[in-house]
């Protein structure tokens, strides 16, 4: 089947602002958007630029806006889209080139919530014990692949420069509710600010955008509740 890709282009070495370009490609219904982008790059326009690696939805490289929704380009198939597909870079991030955006600020937000196990007691010579129930408590948020689909889908991040963003809160949640971690207090303090968890307006765009089906809004709510009740 033939589809038309309408792709937002921007070459910082030549363009003063982004513009759309169209490409017609022949695809199979089971082809991924990434396959279509590769077709364009490899056979029509080698300057088309985007990040990609695993091609099966687990590395998080190719999050972009496809027909107005944040998706992983390698996880959405032609048969789920129409014959005209609009592909744009993630909103709210500085465009570096075409579909490739500046991820530095996103990773800085992630780093700001201390995304590593904080454990004061020295581990024994065996594994720390954790029951299946304790393990299940933070299971959802362990699935984050740092693709930025959620943070870029959040309208707060479109207008506010200092919201830490859903992904950072998800990764804080992963540790706050991990029974082996003792840094909940520190992270909750960091998030207990205007730029932290309180900027969230429960819009749900994040949950809608997450390609790993993480209940992002619920995780953020659990962090808010932990702050309000002073209990984890």
């Amino acid at each position: 089947m033939e589809v038309t890709l309408r792709i937002k282009r921007f070459n910082p070495e030549q363009d003063s602002k982004p513009h759309f370009e169209e490409f017609k490609v022949d695809v199979e219904p089971t082809d991924r958007v990434l396959d279509a982008l590769n077709m364009v790059k490899w056979h029509y326009d080698g300057t088309l630029t985007y990040r990609r690696s695993c091609a099966h939805g687990i590395c998080g490289s190719d999050a972009m806006r496809i027909n107005g929704r944040n998706r992983l380009a390698c996880k959405i198939l032609m048969k789920d889209l129409g014959s005209r597909i609009t592909i744009e870079p993630l909103i709210g991030f500085k465009i570096e080139k075409d579909l490739l955006v500046d991820m530095e600020k996103f990773f800085d937000s992630y780093k700001s919530i201390k995304p590593y196990l904080i454990a004061e007691d020295a581990p024994s010579s065996r594994e720390r014990r954790q029951s299946p129930e304790e393990r299940a408590r933070f299971d959802d948020t362990t699935n984050c692949i740092l693709c930025a689909a959620c943070t870029s889908a959040c309208p707060i991040t479109w207008t506010s420069d200092d919201f830490v963003g859903p992904a950072a809160i998800v990764n804080a949640h992963r540790f706050i509710f991990d029974s082996r971690d003792s840094g909940a207090g520190e992270r909750l303090r960091i998030l207990n600010t205007q730029s932290g968890v309180w900027r969230c307006r429960t819009i749900f765009n994040c949950t809608d955008a997450c390609p790993r089906d993480i209940k992002v809004t619920e995780a953020i709510e659990q962090v808010k509740r932990a702050l309000l009740t002073e209990q984890v």
Partner: protein
């Protein structure tokens, strides 16, 4: 021209690279260079588990694990390395848990373990639960946890820099790397006392592969171009269960949890070929079972695939232990694994071969294992050899953690013995010439067709079953493609994020890897592990109980044999 100085530079930020970095961070000035943001590394794609003889759910010990590894590798595993791997695996897994890795747990709260292909109790008696796992996302948890530790320890990351060259003094000591800053097109030199190559494998040499698009063998090729021999390149593993046509991995864990392979008659055919281990026989063997079924006309609809059936497993097991592969089947093939079999076929998965090292991660350059000063390698890019002719599932993640850690520790402990050796004159010339040659050419051929022809050629002629005729065709085909590569052009001539240029450079690396795979496969006239020759079906321990070291010289490719370390287990016939 940008210049940096670090005690150690690590190329590759997957499991092995990060593990090495964590050993050294805070104690030495180190840099970690990666062409991807670290959490994108291919370690994250690993699914099934990381094996260690913890004995949490049933009795186990490292000697059984060592035996399984040696037999799984069809007896060219270096047994001193296998002993290190399996002994230190226990500590390595516990260290990961201490770092916070969220393993699945037993009811008592210990790390849960499951069965996996080739892992047995009591030297082959029956399958054993040795694979420690986190759903079917163990690799994802490992890369996230190690990246988190990298952040905690303030590791210096050079994110999105592509390796162009490895630098050596005239005496052959390693003194740094030359890298390309993807954001700006600027070339940087990192002057270092030690260099660790942990840049992964090269599955993209083949058409159907589980590997990420980034899996192009950059580090392996860079070493080879500088005269370092590559070891055991002919041993490339085809994982039996990749999604039909896409190659996306369906973890062996599915079979570990009770999944069964079925042919067009609905028969569980693995039992016919491997009565004891059945679907949990080692991967090279299961791939050959599938190949044989297809050849004899029992592929589904007469085509070249079979079905992976998990429909008989309880819903709860599928949901809790195999969520990701269920997702893949649903999304990419529109198949519901709880009701139907999943179309699967062998997919190019893992490079047993690579840069030869000793058990401390130091690169060696000859059959006597003489060390290249200051040069290290670990992970899939390296060949210790811990996997021999075929790797067992869950042993790669152990390899990364154990040998990444050992390399890092060795580099740190011996840092005082190393010096900042003077960089060779015009040290950026080779790197620049690669880039300039491509950018300045105004007529030639683009990468796409050369690459797809290479991938088809390798998949057709150099995969699960090989013979002299096909391999000779592959050799000639690759030679012709390398000639065409000499006129490669790109359309993007910019400096910012020139991924067109990067893909062209990656193709060069892949062609170098392909050339050595074919040469090794042609020269090794026997069948062993993943290297199966229809014209030499028997294993030949008299002539070929050895590693192959492949050198690029002015007179063409040359092969020298390197002895295998055999300590506990004498080679026997490999039956499951």
């Amino acid at each position: 021209m940008a210049y940096h100085r670090y005690d150690a530079v690590i190329v590759g930020a997957g499991g092995a690279g990060l593990m090495a970095a964590i050993q050294m961070a805070g104690h030495a000035n180190i840099a970690v260079v990666s062409k991807l943001y670290p959490p994108r590394s291919h370690t994250g794609a690993a699914q099934g588990g990381i094996s260690a003889a913890l004995g949490n759910t049933e009795e186990d010990n490292w000697e059984w694990h060592m035996f399984d590894t040696v037999k799984g590798g069809d007896y060219i595993v270096d047994q001193d390395a296998a002993e290190v791997l399996t002994r230190e695996a226990i500590d390595a897994v516990l260290e990961l848990e201490h770092m916070g890795l969220p393993f699945n747990r037993t009811p008592e709260g210990k790390i849960d373990q499951r069965r996996f292909g080739g892992h047995s109790r009591n030297f082959g008696e029956a399958p054993v639960r040795r694979a420690c796992y986190a759903a079917d996302r163990t690799g994802h948890m490992i890369i996230q946890t190690l990246y988190q530790q990298g952040i905690k320890h303030n590791v210096n990351f050079f994110d999105e820099y592509h390796l162009l060259d490895i630098l050596f003094t005239d005496d052959g000591a390693c003194c740094g790397v030359v890298i390309y800053e993807i954001k700006t097109g600027e070339i940087h030199t990192i002057h270092a006392k030690t260099v660790l190559i942990a840049s992964g494998g090269y599955g993209r040499v083949f058409k159907i592969t589980s590997n990420a698009l980034a899996g192009t063998g950059d580090g392996v090729a860079a070493a080879y171009r500088r005269g370092i021999p590559l070891m055991d390149m002919e041993f490339y593993q085809f994982h039996p269960t990749g999604l039909y046509k896409l190659g996306i991995l369906l973890s062996e864990a599915a079979r570990g949890e009770g999944g069964i392979l079925r042919n067009s008659e609905g028969e569980a055919f693995a039992e016919r070929y491997a009565p004891t281990m059945k679907d949990l026989a080692p991967r090279d063997m299961v791939s050959r079972f599938i190949y044989q079924e297809v050849k004899e006309g029992r592929g589904i609809d007469g085509k070249d695939y079979v079905l992976l059936d998990v429909s008989h497993l309880p819903d709860d097991v599928i949901d809790r232990k195999l969520p990701d592969i269920t997702d893949f089947a649903r999304i990419y093939l529109g198949v519901e694994p709880k009701k139907e079999g999943i179309p699967t076929q062998p997919t190019a998965h893992y490079a047993m071969g690579g840069i030869p090292t000793n058990i401390n991660g130091q690169v060696v350059h000859d059959p006597e294992a003489n060390v290249v000063p200051g040069f290290y390698s670990a992970g899939e890019a390296a060949c210790v050899s811990v996997h021999g002719a075929n790797r067992l599932g869950t042993n790669s993640l152990v390899d990364l953690v154990v040998f990444g850690r050992r390399a890092g520790r060795h580099m740190l402990n011996h840092m005082n013995e190393y010096d900042f050796l003077p960089l060779p004159n015009n040290h950026e010339d080779f790197a620049r010439s690669q880039v300039d040659a491509i950018l300045s050419r105004d007529s030639g051929e683009r990468a796409a067709n050369i690459r797809s022809e290479m991938q088809e050629l390798m998949m057709d002629k150099v995969s699960v079953v090989r013979n002299e005729t096909m391999l000779a065709e592959a050799r000639d085909g690759i030679a012709e493609l390398r000639n065409r590569y000499d006129s490669i052009i790109v359309q993007d001539h910019g400096s910012t994020y020139n991924t067109d240029l990067l893909e062209a450079l990656e193709l060069g690396a892949m062609l170098d890897c392909a050339e050595t795979i074919v040469f090794g496969a042609l020269t090794r006239q026997e069948s062993r592990g993943a290297h199966f020759r229809e014209d030499f079906e028997a294993r030949d321990d008299v002539n070929w109980l050895a590693h192959s070291l492949i050198y690029r010289t002015d007179k063409g490719l040359q092969l020298r044999k390197k002895p295998v370390s055999i300590t506990r287990f004498q080679p026997k016939e490999r039956k499951y």
